[in-house]
C-alpha cells in the first residue's frame, strides 16, 4: 500500500499492474489521475507541500479508507514542484472484490486528499503573473458527505 510524494512523473499503467498483481481475489480496480489543466492561460503549476506531514496525512487517509471498505490494495502518488499543462499531478488507485467499494474508496481518498493533505498550488500565467489557487468550497462539501 504505497504512498509516495515525488517530483518525478509516474506511470499509471505500471502502477495499476503492480496494484493487482498476483491477487486473484481482486475483481475491481479503480484509478483516478489528476492532470494540470491549461485553461485560462495557465503556463505552469507549482505544487508546494509540507514534507513529513504530507506523507503522514496521506497514510492516515489511506488507513481510513481501509477501515471503511474491504480493500485488497491502494496506491497514492502525489507530485510536487513545477508541472506543465497536461502533466500528471496525482494518482489514486483502489482494488477490491467488487466495484462499489473500489469506486467509493477512490472518491473518498481524493476528497480527503483535496482537503486534508498539505499541498498548495500556484499557477503561473503566460504573462508571467502568478497566483495561489484558492480552496474550493465544493471540495469541502465533497469531503463532508463521508462524515457521520
Amino acid at each position: 500500500m504505497p504512498v509516495r510524494v515525488q517530483e518525478a512523473d509516474f506511470d499509471p499503467g505500471a502502477e495499476l499492474e503492480a496494484l493487482a498483481r498476483g491477487d486473484t481475489e481482486i475483481g475491481a480496480v479503480v484509478s483516478f489521475t489528476g492532470l494540470v489543466r491549461g485553461s485560462g492561460g495557465v503556463a505552469e503549476m507549482t505544487l508546494e507541500h509540507y514534507p513529513g506531514m504530507t506523507e503522514a496525512a496521506l497514510k492516515e487517509i489511506e488507513a481510513a479508507a481501509h477501515r471503511r471498505w474491504p480493500l485488497q490494495a491502494t496506491t497514492i502518488i502525489h507530485r510536487v514542484g513545477p508541472l506543465a499543462p497536461g502533466a500528471r499531478i496525482v494518482f489514486v488507485a483502489t482494488a477490491s472484490r467488487h466495484r462499489g467499494a473500489a469506486f467509493e474508496a477512490a472518491e473518498y481518498i481524493m476528497d480527503y486528499l483535496k482537503t486534508r493533505a498539505p499541498f498548495w498550488k500556484k499557477e503561473a500565467a503566460e504573462d508571467g503573473s502568478a497566483t495561489w489557487v484558492d480552496a474550493r468550497e465544493s471540495d469541502e462539501a465533497a469531503a463532508a458527505r463521508w462524515e457521520g
Binding site: A117, P118, W120
Partner: protein, 83 residues
C-alpha cells in the same frame, strides 16, 4: 519553538520557517499569532484574517484554540489545494 509558513503566507512573511521564543503569556495558537502580529508590520499584514488560515501542531491539524504546551513545531498555512 519552530514555526513553518506555507504558500502565500510564506511569501508574505518572507521566510519558510523560523525559531521563536514567545513569552510565557502565549499559551495557545491564537495567542501565538497575536504575539507574531506585534513583531513587524509584515506579520500584522500576513495575519490580518486568521479565518483564512489553518494550523498544524507537530504535523497534525489543530484549531487556533489548541494549547501550545509541549509543541515543538507549529505550521501556519492557507487552506490546502492539492490533488
Amino acid at each position: 519553538m519552530r514555526i513553518l509558513y506555507f504558500a502565500w503566507l510564506r511569501e508574505r512573511i518572507g521566510v519558510g520557517s523560523e525559531e521563536v521564543t514567545p513569552p510565557g503569556t502565549v499559551t495557545d495558537v491564537a495567542g501565538l499569532v497575536d504575539w507574531l502580529r506585534t513583531r513587524e508590520p509584515r506579520y500584522a499584514a500576513a495575519f490580518e484574517d486568521i479565518s483564512a488560515l489553518r494550523v498544524a501542531l507537530d504535523q497534525e491539524q489543530a484549531d487556533f484554540d489548541a494549547p501550545l504546551a509541549g509543541v515543538r513545531e507549529v505550521a501556519l498555512f492557507p487552506p490546502v489545494t492539492g490533488g
